[in-house]
């Protein structure tokens, strides 16, 4: 979002308005160029974003609200929702904890190997979800590295819930760290150092200075992490075994229904995930507004 332009409009409404009708500033484009570019952008985004989004809702609700309700309250769908929530409830806090630790280490200290560590944190972004799932199978599957030992002890990871959790943790690993690190870098560590001088302990600095300062970017990282955790498909698909009512997450449930030509039910379940995506986008917008407000308040105070 154009934080800068909106800030300008807020601070100098007169400067943003046209001084003379028909007058065009040197950095503005002719009206026909504007219209053409806006038109092309809208057509492109309609074909690739709006129509697919509308299609999900249309297909989900085409049979009426009763059909939709019946589809999402089906026991298998319900079990899938519960499993999806469970997986996210484990994966997201773990990766949030990691994100805070990694951001603290990488932005509050200088040490050798820092850049390497930063690159390694990004690795899961470069790994295909299918390969992420495959890694879990190679470690814990029947022929895997720890497979025989696990079998002896009667622990089942692949084709069961723990495998789904592990694959999801891998895929969503960088999200919180990736959001926090640039933000904390930009903020600098003066406030924390001031707190230290005033006698605060490490945990006090973290909980009373750092976390309140970064709360919006932390929250956004958590929301992104959660969206991916609940929506992950490829990685989970490899390790789940697709056992209905047991190891099907919501995205897998959508696929199973679709492949059985149960299109109404598939789109009904998909619409729940679509809702999750909408909430994520709304949360992002809210966060940007918060940051804009904080920035304008700060400008005024100056």
């Amino acid at each position: 979002m154009s934080v800068r332009a909106e800030e300008l409009e807020r601070l100098e409404p007169a400067a943003a308005a046209d001084p003379v009708p028909g007058f065009r500033r040197a950095h503005e484009d002719p009206p026909w160029v504007r219209r053409l570019l806006i038109g092309v952008a809208l057509v492109f985004l309609t074909g690739f974003l709006l129509l697919p989004a509308a299609a999900v809702l249309w297909e989900a609700l085409r049979g009426g609200v009763e059909v939709w309700l019946a589809a999402i309250t089906q026991p298998d769908a319900w079990a899938a929702v519960k499993l999806t929530l469970l997986v996210a409830a484990i994966a997201v806090p773990l990766n949030t904890l990691f994100g805070v630790a990694a951001a603290w280490s990488l932005t509050r200290f200088r040490f050798r190997g820092q850049n390497l560590l930063l690159t390694l944190i990004d690795l899961p972004f470069g790994v295909s979800p299918v390969i992420a799932g495959m890694c879990t199978v190679l470690l814990f599957g029947g022929q895997g590295l720890f497979g025989p030992w696990l079998q002896e002890h009667g622990v089942r990871i692949v084709f069961a819930v723990p495998g789904i959790v592990l694959a999801t943790v891998f895929v969503t690993f960088p999200f919180v760290a990736r959001e926090l690190i640039p933000f904390m870098q930009q903020q600098g560590k003066e406030e924390e150092e001031a707190a230290l001088v005033m006698g605060a302990s490490g945990w006090q600095i973290l909980s009373r200075v750092t976390v309140p300062n970064v709360r919006w970017s932390l929250l956004y990282g958590v929301i992104l992490c959660n969206a991916r955790a609940m929506g992950e498909f490829g990685a989970v698909s490899v390790v789940s075994g697709h056992i209905r009512g047991l190891t099907n997450t919501l995205p897998l449930h959508v696929e199973v229904l679709y492949n059985e030509y149960a299109f109404r039910a598939a789109f009904a379940s998909a619409s729940l995930l679509f809702l999750l995506a909408l909430l994520t986008l709304v949360a992002k917008k809210l966060m940007e507004w918060q940051q804009l407000r904080a920035r304008t308040a700060w400008e005024r105070a100056k």
Partner: protein, 282 residues
């Protein structure tokens, strides 16, 4: 309280260095490095000749062609339209701008399986757009074009989101100076604005390409999954896993991982270049 040793002063005075760095490295090792090293370990069970046969089999070669080709085309489409959308969002005010700005992130937020069936609903033979393409002889689903459509969708936000902040932070005074010096608007765009957009656009291209290369969920519904024709590499890996051919899957996965990691390192380099060039974090 003890005095600061020189090394501690250089590192930083805040507490928690050992704990946070230790936990970061431990968790990284456990969650990311250990699983990835399992791939290397499994791949090393194959002799070089065996591995070569697997990764250069006609089916594997065809899958690289479609995966790399479609990802590159999708990322190229996204670079052109991404710069355009970023320009429109950063420079123009129009009704609904805020909404458009928000929906650009939809491919990030939407689970890929949902994207897959949604795109199919639009581009299948009977779909909203597909039914108009069909009489023109364009088969948009279950064809390589379908793969391109899915990968374009998945990579759409990257270029917009890397170029947009650069445009928003650009000084309009520079453009005014160009105009004062007699440049036409088009000349100003080509010679003054465009050069600053090259690094972020390239970064966006690489990010979109990397994401598209590994994509699975949105593609499998719309591609039709025909071996040699529309089978992407991640799907080939999946097929081999389902047949319990772990060695084969690992060999092909290694090819993908090497390509993705090379991309990741070049993206890091590109981002550093962007920072030097325009002076902001991209």
């Amino acid at each position: 309280m003890g005095g600061l040793t020189p090394s501690r002063a250089r590192r930083g005075v805040l507490p928690g260095f050992g704990l946070s760095t230790g936990f970061t490295i431990f968790y990284l090792g456990l969650v990311v490095l250990l699983p990835l090293s399992a791939v290397a370990l499994k791949a090393s069970e194959l002799t070089l000749a065996q591995a070569w046969d697997i990764v250069t089999s006609p089916r594997a070669l065809a899958s690289y062609r479609i995966s790399f080709g479609a990802a590159a085309i999708g990322a190229a489409i996204n670079t052109v339209f991404g710069v355009l959308v970023a320009w429109v969002l950063a420079r123009y005010r129009f009704p609904g701008r805020s909404l458009v700005d928000a929906v650009v992130d939809l491919p990030f937020a939407l689970p890929t399986a949902v994207s897959g069936i949604a795109l199919l609903a639009v581009y299948a033979r009977t779909g909203w757009i597909g039914q108009w393409l069909e009489p023109l002889g364009v088969k948009s689903a279950f064809s390589p074009l379908g793969v391109v459509i899915a990968l374009t969708f998945i990579g759409l936000p990257f270029v917009v989101r890397t170029v947009q902040p650069v445009l928003e932070d650009a000084e309009v005074e520079v453009e005014e100076a160009a105009a004062v010096l007699g440049a036409s608007r088009w000349q100003t765009f080509l010679r003054v604005i465009l050069p600053t957009l090259v690094p972020p656009a390239l970064t966006g291209f690489a990010l979109a390409f990397a994401r598209a290369l590994g994509e699975y969920g949105s593609v499998v519904f719309i591609s039709g999954n025909l071996p040699l024709r529309t089978e992407i590499t991640p799907l080939l890996i999946m097929t081999k896993l389902e047949q319990y051919d772990y060695a084969g899957a690992t060999a092909i996965a290694t090819v993908m991982l090497v390509a993705s990691f090379a991309l990741l390192f070049s993206i890091n380099g590109l981002q550093a270049w962007t920072r030097r060039r325009v002076g902001i974090a991209a």
